[in-house]
């Protein structure tokens, strides 16, 4: 039916099978659409957010997704600026995942703010001192960059390529991709950092507050580092998932290994710094506020175990696995380590958002707990559905994996 649209020389499932595959994701999108409509129409009272949990599930999703989507800019940086040739085989995947993550995050933010129609005031009445302004500027610009980076991939579609102008346009875009990669790197570096800065600068919230360098709290650098460490690993994870689902090899091992190795070193570096950060915080910021490390974990479900998980099981452990060649070359260990790293980063973001807000600062204020409503889950999971859908479509109709044909030669019929 749609065979004319499929890339040359690769095998794709039947349109019906594809349709059924998309159903659950469409379902998630519908759920999210209804939730979003309710939130926009009736207001944020549809959520369980409150004056205590001013940031909640959505912001956790946002930060997680943006960190995980960092594979795009960092792989781009390695591919086009450092010129690591083998990564050309995975850059498309990285870009698409980045695009999905960032556009999903933007959409969620649009629902999260109380006055979405006034969202542009961020740019019009920008407060340059606000880390969130920097985040907004960079994310918006970077999303455009991602769109531009995504465009040539779309233009490589068989049918679109038949149009000469588009083909030429796409080709030329390819040629200057290094410029966009550089722009993207610059933008991403700052917004990833500013996302961390957002929390580090909350100096009146001792759980999040950090000292730092000039105007940047340590979280600024830690967020950049953690993002570029886990972003590529998330790209690897997505590739592996695609390979698993398609029962095909899609990316040569050289690309995967190159990425994994770089991530391994970055992750190791990050985890060392993060441990120092924790120590500096425990012995600096916290006692200065009259508190102790344990005093943060006295009530509620959040405990020291979260920090232990973040540092040891989702930090040191995957770093060790990835840094040893035997570890990262083993398919199973590689996936486990990537998974743990991603969980660790999400946990880190969760701590900065939810736990920061749940712990009262005033001694007489009580501890509050929070559970998201179905509307919040709907919007959050819609991003997951959206991601699966866009990636599936891209895989089906675009030559996302340049080596797919090579790695999966068509059987002689």
């Amino acid at each position: 039916m749609d065979s004319a649209l499929l890339p040359h020389g690769v095998k794709r499932c039947s349109p019906w099978a594809f349709f059924f595959w998309t159903l659950p994701w469409l379902g998630l999108l519908a759920w999210g659409g209804l939730s979003a409509f309710l939130c926009l129409w009736k207001g944020l009272n549809q959520t369980n957010m409150s004056n205590v949990f001013a940031f909640a599930l959505w912001i956790v999703f946002d930060l997680a997704v943006i960190a995980l989507g960092a594979g795009a800019f960092f792989t781009g940086f390695l591919t086009y600026i450092i010129n690591k040739k083998e990564l050309r085989n995975i850059i498309n995947t990285a870009v698409i995942i980045g695009f999905i993550c960032y556009s999903g995050a933007m959409a969620m933010l649009g629902i999260d703010i109380g006055q979405p129609i006034r969202g542009w005031f961020i740019f019009w009445h920008a407060n340059i001192h606000s880390m969130l302004v920097e985040v907004s500027f960079c994310i918006t610009c970077y999303l455009m960059v991602l769109a531009i980076e995504f465009l040539p991939i779309i233009l490589e579609n068989r049918k679109l390529e038949e149009i000469k102008e588009l083909r030429l346009f796409g080709h030329n875009l390819h040629e200057i991709m290094a410029v966009f990669a550089a722009t993207g790197t610059f933008l991403s570096f700052f917004h990833q950092g500013s996302l961390g800065g957002m929390f580090g600068v909350m100096y009146a919230r001792p759980f999040a507050a950090r000292e730092g360098f000039y105007i940047w709290p340590w979280t600024f650098f830690l967020f950049v580092l953690s993002a570029i460490a886990c972003g590529p690993l998330f790209t690897i994870l997505c590739t592996k998932l695609a390979e698993l689902l398609t029962r095909k090899k899609l990316v040569p091992d050289s690309a995967i290994q190159a990425l994994a190795k770089i991530s391994a070193w970055l992750l190791s570096f990050y985890i060392v710094l993060k441990i120092f950060d924790y120590l500096g915080w425990i012995y600096g910021v916290v006692p200065r506020a009259g508190l102790t490390f344990e005093s943060f974990f006295r009530e509620g479900p959040y405990g020291v175990w979260m920090v232990v998980c973040e540092i040891i099981f989702c930090g040191i452990l995957p770093a060790v696995i990835l840094i040893t060649p035997q570890g990262r070359k083993n398919q199973g260990w590689l996936i486990l380590a990537a998974l743990l790293t991603c969980i660790g980063i999400v946990l880190n973001r969760f701590l900065f958002i939810i736990v920061t807000l749940a712990i009262p600062v005033m001694p007489f204020e009580r501890f509050w707990s929070y559970l998201p409503t179905w509307q919040e889950w709907g919007v959050g999971l819609a991003v997951v559905g959206y991601g699966f859908l866009v990636f599936s479509l891209a895989y089906r109709y675009l030559p996302v994996f340049p080596k797919e044909k090579e790695l999966n030669p068509a059987p002689e019929s």
Partner: protein, 813 residues
């Protein structure tokens, strides 16, 4: 050009791109943002000319001065008046939220109504005033024609002695029914105690501002006792300046760490209902040490030492009684207060320059116990704190003119001879004017309601009475109920006819001597806004109703308007001479000779004009009045031993009056353990309903604003909390927030548990004011009303309900 698919797509895409470079999208983006800033459903308060109207708050008998800010015809904010003697500056939370009572339409009746739905459903139909008055008038006239005017009854919640209250009493007299009942309040306990010990039918006057030690036996000083504006203002004064050099100390006797107990300098946690015993314990220590005011006792007191009556019988004196029964150890066993604490507190009382012992039970809305009041007053007398600066003053009542005499017609005269349904004033209750719970009991106890038509004025007995729901049951039996309430309260919802009063800000009304004030004050409120609905001042309605009943009843009301009655009464103030109608904050009325004597008005009309404008007539406190003729008791002295009680016992019996002790003790302050309850084993805990200043528990609904101040350990969603000591809760395996059923022999209510260290073990503390079934979504169905499960015994002599000792048990829900 031919329209091909390609062309079409190209033009659409081109158009879309092209529009981006026009101002259109940007204009649109801007416009929708502006739209969010002017959403049509966000109210825009109209502006206009600002003005301030001074008036008096009549939400409680405290009578604070208020200033209302208006924008054109709309009242937009209430503030306290700095030029008013009761509350120079602040007001209480209830008064602060008053505008919601005025403007919340679903809280109010917008005009006269008749019932169309089931009783209690709150479904009414608008009728005209003419129709409403005709229905009510015809009904009462018919009863009179049948010769049973006594089947008409009135419940009156207006302040004692207010003009509205006098008109209601007059109406009942003119109709010919003795069944005029009032909900018992603390003022009734005061009045009765004053008559028995001092022979004076005058309000209580505590000179708090001049005292240096205030021992409060149960007064919720910070919970709304007395005139809240005055007490809170005094509280601020007492705490002014360097805490180390503070001159005034406050001791609170209460079983719970209430705001007053917490904020007082000392908290003495006596069991509820044993405050009198504690006062007698202090008396014991003082007598022992000999540091009592011998001069006062010798000159102006009766029954302190043992005495011999004319018939030669030797009577026990107060001294002997107290020395025998109220040693610190004995009192400690009763009250639970440590003996050394009693001794120390007595020492403080003796050491203070001008101590005062004051008696109360929370706010003023519920009654106290007569013997407890007598015990506290005896303590004052012992220390010579009566008719002294900073003590208990003995002023005369306000010199208001009485209403002119009128002749009852024959029907009325016959009706008035019939006995009161509540038996107040009989041998069993010789000093009580009305006993509303006995009234309800009498109706509930008869097969057919002896009352045919009930008029309810400024009261919500179905909710506010601590009677375990007895009045509500009675309401169901009464064939016809007429409510004059402006609010859709529980009692009004049971009514068949509504003749709605105006809300306080729309009407002229008077305040007679705010509770506890040490100087005479007459407050006059004026309409701040014109009535916003078709409602009428109840005073006018009564006059109109009297005419609708018939000529002879109407003849008792020779006035056109309520204001004429007010003016006629106020003439007495002028005729008495003196008095001030303006307040100078520099010369507060409690400072001796501070306020000066220049009245500031020339004629009665001049005075009335200024009284209307300023809302007050007062006379600076008369400290230390001439002792002669001060006490109007049989002995002409302050009576530790009340000869009036003695006479009452002689003509009746102690048993009838529910006094458990015999002989001389019964005529003096003493402690009586509440009658042992047979179900005590089944109901091991005791319920104590408590009052809060930020929740209305009387007939006035709480303005919704108040709910902002309620903690979520007091009300969570629709469930209120009972404060219980963690130890007591532990015995039942209860944790914070657990749902429990509090069960008494009278019923059960569902609440959540609030573990509170400041609660006395073995007690269950439930706030009063929650659990409404009337009003609107702000108040309806929120929390539980402890009144619904109160099972009260009767206070000896007075017969008022002992609402503070209901036996209860907790059942985990």
């Amino acid at each position: 050009m031919k329209l091909t698919r390609r062309n079409f797509i190209a033009s659409v895409v081109g158009g879309a791109v092209g529009i981006q470079i026009t101002p259109l999208p940007w204009k649109f983006t801007d416009d929708v943002a502006i739209w969010t800033q002017n959403w049509p459903w966000v109210p825009v308060p109209p502006s206009g000319e600002f003005s301030e109207v001074s008036s008096v708050c009549t939400l409680c008998p405290g009578g604070c001065g208020i200033s209302v800010r208006k924008v054109e015809e709309r009242a937009v904010k209430i503030e306290g008046r700095t030029d008013y003697p009761v509350n120079p500056g602040g007001i209480c939370p209830l008064g602060m939220g008053g505008l919601q009572l005025l403007y919340d339409e679903s809280l109010r009746f917008t005009g006269p109504m008749k019932r169309v739905g089931m009783r209690g459903s709150g479904e009414f139909q608008r009728i005209t005033w003419r129709e409403a008055l005709d229905i009510a008038g015809a009904r009462i006239a018919a009863l009179r024609k049948e010769g049973r005017p006594e089947a008409v009854a009135a419940v009156d919640g207006n302040g004692e002695g207010t003009t509205a209250s006098l008109l209601i009493q007059r109406l009942m007299q003119a109709v010919g029914s003795p069944n005029y009942v009032r909900p018992a309040s603390l003022s009734d306990t005061y009045r009765m105690g004053n008559i028995l010990m001092q022979g004076r039918d005058a309000p209580i006057a505590y000179d708090l501002e001049n005292s240096d030690l205030i021992v409060s036996f149960g007064c919720g000083l910070l919970e709304g006792w007395g005139a809240p504006g005055r007490v809170l203002n005094a509280w601020g004064m007492w705490h002014e300046g360097n805490p180390a050099k503070r001159k005034v100390k406050i001791v609170q006797v209460e079983s719970r760490a209430s705001n007053t107990a917490s904020k007082a300098d000392y908290w003495v946690a006596a069991k509820p209902g044993t405050e009198g015993a504690l006062a007698l314990g202090l008396a014991h220590v003082i007598i022992r040490s000999g540091r009592y005011d011998a001069g006062f006792l010798a000159e102006h007191a009766f029954g302190f030492d043992d005495w011999q009556s004319r018939d030669g019988v030797v009577h026990t004196g107060f001294k002997t009684l107290v020395l025998k029964n109220y040693a610190p150890e004995q009192v400690s066993r009763i009250t639970g207060v440590r003996p050394d604490a009693i001794v120390k507190l007595a020492g403080m009382f003796m050491d203070a320059k001008s101590p005062i012992a004051i008696y109360g039970k929370g706010k003023n809305e519920l009654n106290g116990s007569l013997y407890e009041f007598m015990a506290v007053q005896s303590l004052n007398a012992l220390a010579g704190r009566i008719n002294r600066v900073g003590g208990v003053l003995l002023p005369d009542p306000l010199p208001l003119n009485p209403l002119p005499h009128f002749e009852c017609d024959e029907i009325a005269a016959k009706g008035l001879e019939k006995p009161r349904l509540d038996r107040a004033g009989t041998k069993a209750y010789p000093f009580s004017h009305s006993l509303i719970h006995k009234f309800a009991e009498a109706i509930n106890g008869s097969r057919k309601s002896p009352i045919d038509t009930l008029l309810v004025f400024s009261a919500n007995p179905a909710f506010t009475l601590p009677d375990g729901g007895a009045f509500e049951t009675a309401l169901k039996k009464i064939p016809f109920v007429i409510s004059f309430s402006p609010y859709r309260d529980e009692t009004a919802n049971m009514a068949d006819l509504i003749l709605p009063d105006c809300v306080y800000l729309e009407k002229v009304d008077d305040i007679i001597w705010p509770v506890g004030l040490q100087y005479p004050l007459y407050g006059l409120s004026k309409p701040v806004v014109d009535p916003i609905y078709d409602t009428r001042n109840c005073g006018d309605t009564i006059i109109n109703l009297s005419k609708a009943i018939g000529k002879s009843v109407g003849a008792a009301f020779p006035w056109k308007h309520f204001t004429d009655v007010l003016k006629e009464r106020a003439k007495g103030l002028y005729d008495a001479g003196g008095g001030l109608v303006r307040f100078n904050p520099a010369a507060p009325p409690w400072v001796a000779k501070g306020a000066g004597s220049k009245t500031g008005f020339k004629s009665f009309d001049d005075m009335w004009k200024k009284l209307e404008a300023g809302g007050m007539w007062y006379r600076p406190a008369e400290q230390q009045r001439d002792w002669s003729w001060l006490f109007k008791t049989p002995s002409g002295k302050f009576e530790f031993y009340s000869q009036r009680i003695e006479q009452a016992i002689r003509s009746g019996s102690t048993k009838e009056m529910r006094i458990t002790v015999q002989g001389d003790e019964a005529c003096m302050a003493h402690y009586e353990a509440p009658a042992q309850d047979p179900d005590r084993t089944a109901y091991p805990l005791t319920l104590f309903p408590y009052e809060m200043i930020n929740l209305a528990s009387g007939w006035i609904p709480s303005p919704p604003f108040l709910y902002k101040t309620i903690f979520d350990t007091q009300l969570l969603k629709d469930t209120s909390f009972a404060a219980i000591h963690p130890g007591t809760a532990g015995q039942y395996g209860l944790k914070q927030g657990d749902l429990v059923s509090v069960e008494s022999p009278a019923g059960a209510v569902k609440v959540r548990v609030d573990l509170f260290e400041g609660a006395m073990p073995g007690r269950v503390y439930m706030p009063l004011g929650f659990g409404h079934t009337g009003y609107d979504e702000f108040l309806k169905g929120k929390g539980a009303n402890p009144n619904a499960i109160v099972r009260a015994g009767e206070d000896p002599v007075s017969g008022y309900p002992v609402w503070w000792t209901t036996p209860v048990k907790l059942v985990k829900a």
